[in-house]
């Protein structure tokens, strides 16, 4: 009975292709659309920073902590550098760190998740044990320790954040792969003589891709937060201006007691905006991917949450 119902339902929604899934989801949720637009604007500004930044990143254009004016809408920082310029370049570095660290963590988490889910057995036990340990160890103190020992550099920060953020990806992907592995077409492919590599690449990965995208967006937010935190603790790359660095500079040079709120409010607001946008987009995608939510009486929208740092993600 129930399977017949599904059979009838399927043709009424011909646009249910995997390719259009992400876009359709975003269109259906206004909050997610806003998040996507914000994200796109920030990325655009960050990419175009060298072209559209009104002043030089290292040029002093006025007095220390100069107040906002027509030519400098957000005032000047502790070195007399234009804040708008700093924000543009800062967003650029923050996004680079966020995306690069996410790529690292996706590569690790994706590999661990696919291997554990696909092969099961001993491989799974070992890999998931390792994941369990990584989940328990508090990320930020470990990041601090590693960054402090390795010394501050952008590359180190990316690697440190990347190797500590992969756990939730691994768990999510593993669960998905386990269910895909049991589907009939995968079994057919195997019966036809397809190798492990082919099955994983052609049949399993495309199925988990949307979930991976949702996870990526959420991980970018966490990575950007972590970079901001590390920079604030003086472990950022001293030669690169990220948003976290801008906040740290303003704090160190006592922008607050100087009354220069414009040096400290905007960079944090931009970070919050990026994280908010990522949470909205990632949350909407995950919601849409949760099949339970399509059943009418279970349709309460859950908001599965990823902690910015720490680990409260795994239990729900």
């Amino acid at each position: 009975m129930s399977s017949a119902g599904i059979m009838i339902e399927a043709p009424t929604t011909p646009a249910q292709t995997r390719r259009g899934f992400v876009l359709r989801t975003l269109r259906a949720k206004p909050a997610a659309t806003i998040g996507l637009v914000v994200l796109m604007i920030v990325v655009l500004v960050a990419v175009l920073a060298p072209v559209i930044a009104p002043y030089g990143l290292h040029t002093q254009v006025g007095p220390v902590f100069g107040s906002p004016s027509w030519s400098h809408p957000l005032g000047l920082d502790d070195g007399g550098i234009d804040m708008v310029t700093l924000l543009m370049w800062g967003a650029r570095i923050s996004l680079v760190v966020g995306f690069a660290a996410t790529v690292v963590s996706m590569a690790i988490g994706g590999t661990v998740g696919v291997l554990a889910g696909y092969f099961g057995g001993v491989v799974e036990t070992i890999l998931m044990r390792i994941t369990d340990y990584f989940i328990v160890v508090p990320d930020v103190p470990l990041m601090i320790v590693v960054a402090a020992i390795w010394g501050p550099s952008l590359f180190h920060i990316v690697i440190v954040i990347g190797i500590l953020l992969w756990t939730s990806t691994a768990r999510v992907i593993r669960a998905q792969v386990k269910s895909v592995r049991e589907r009939v077409y995968v079994k057919r492919a195997r019966a036809l003589g397809a190798g492990h590599t082919r099955i994983v690449l052609r049949h399993v990965l495309p199925q988990v891709a949307p979930l991976l995208i949702a996870n990526t967006v959420l991980t970018v937010a966490v990575a950007i937060f972590d970079e901001t935190a590390l920079s604030f603790l003086g472990l950022g790359d001293p030669s690169r201006v990220s948003l976290g660095k801008v906040i740290e500079n303003a704090f160190e040079r006592a922008a607050i007691s100087a009354g220069a709120w414009w040096a400290i409010v905007p960079p944090g607001a931009v970070v919050a905006l990026i994280i908010l946008a990522c949470s909205l987009v990632g949350g909407a995608l995950e919601d849409a991917l949760n099949p339970r939510l399509r059943v009418a009486h279970l349709s309460a929208r859950t908001f599965r949450l990823r902690p910015l740092v720490g680990r409260s993600d795994s239990a729900l």
Binding site: L233, F251, A272, P307
Partner: protein, 320 residues
């Protein structure tokens, strides 16, 4: 029997995790290049005597393998070396810092659990109304803010009204008891509030989603059909079941609380563990950093264990 199995399993996991953390801690610090990191006896300005004592205590002239065994032995005796900064034993420094951190973190967490549960329940109950939109957006807003930046914003807002740094007013010498309490309370407000607000955002969203799931269950429909009052339904039927995942999630967010404490104590110069980590990074005080990291990791592991056992107590069905 399966219950006892579960408890034993979790206990073993916790013990192994602590052991792994200890080993990572040793590997990170002793196998790193550079003697400033690896050599615990290189306390700046220390007397020759102290250096020799440390070298002997930790077997620093022996092989790495032997050092590891000695390290474990010293650890069991609570010996974490001597701080490069003030030449006090690391364990003493950490104990003082921990005593300062706990009340601040406790107050903030309490605030967030109470307010977060309340707003989460309201948001779930008033689903689809402007109340929900407002609650959820404010929770998401606080959740998105960098912790230290939120602290700085509170400083900008409350500067002049509340003290923005330190734990006590240093100019109060031997104050009467109540003055001292009031002084402490005014100093603890902003750091605790910062932690509370950041966590409040997270808890609201967690409680809301857990409540939404329970409110969709059949027994809630039954309760409504019986004509129970909304508040009774929420309190007796929905919230109790929703609190299952929430209880663990709250216990598990300790890693987050730890990170928050480091940032918040740095912003407000609160002399706790977080501040100790920050100072240790600034001064390259490796023994302190090592000790603080170990302490934080072990407390998170222990809280995870408590969460697991709590979950088992609350819901004996869970024995996977």
């Amino acid at each position: 029997m399966r219950g006892a199995d579960y408890v034993l399993k979790r206990l073993a996991f916790a013990v192994v995790t602590v052991f792994v953390a200890v080993t990572i801690n040793f590997a990170l610090f002793r196998l790193a290049p550079g003697s400033a990191v690896t050599n615990l006896s290189r306390v700046p300005h220390a007397t020759q005597q102290l250096r020799e004592a440390l070298t002997k205590q930790f077997g620093l002239n022996k092989s790495k393998g032997a050092q590891y065994v000695i390290y474990l032995k010293q650890l069991l005796h609570g010996n974490l070396g001597v701080s490069f900064e003030n030449e006090q034993p690391v364990s003493t420094n950490l104990r003082i810092a921990l005593i300062n951190t706990l009340p601040m973190v406790f107050l903030g967490t309490l605030f967030s659990i109470v307010i977060g549960t309340l707003t989460g329940v309201i948001a779930a109950w008033r689903r689809g109304t402007p109340t929900e939109t407002l609650t959820v957006s404010s929770a998401l807003g606080f959740y998105s803010m960098p912790t230290h930046w939120l602290g700085l914003m509170l400083i900008i807002i409350f500067a002049g009204i509340l003290p923005t740094g330190g734990m006590t007013n240093e100019f109060l010498l031997n104050p009467p008891f109540w003055t001292h309490v009031r002084d402490l309370a005014s100093h603890i407000t902003l750091p605790s509030l910062t932690l509370g607000l950041v966590l409040y955002g997270e808890y609201t969203l967690i409680v809301r989603s857990a409540m939404l799931e329970t409110l969709g269950e059949d027994y809630i429909l039954t309760a409504r059909a019986k004509g129970l009052r909304p508040w009774t339904i929420v309190r007796r039927h929905a919230l109790r079941n929703a609190m299952l995942p929430v209880a663990t999630l709250i216990a598990l967010s300790l890693g987050y609380i730890v990170a928050g404490a480091i940032l918040i104590e740095t912003v407000f110069s609160w002399p706790g563990i977080g501040r100790a980590v920050y100072e240790a990074v600034l001064q390259r005080d490796y023994p302190m950093l090592q000790g603080a990291f170990l302490l934080l990791t072990i407390s998170v592991v222990i809280c995870n264990l408590v969460a697991d056992l709590l979950y088992f107590k609350l819901d004996p069905r869970i024995t996977e």
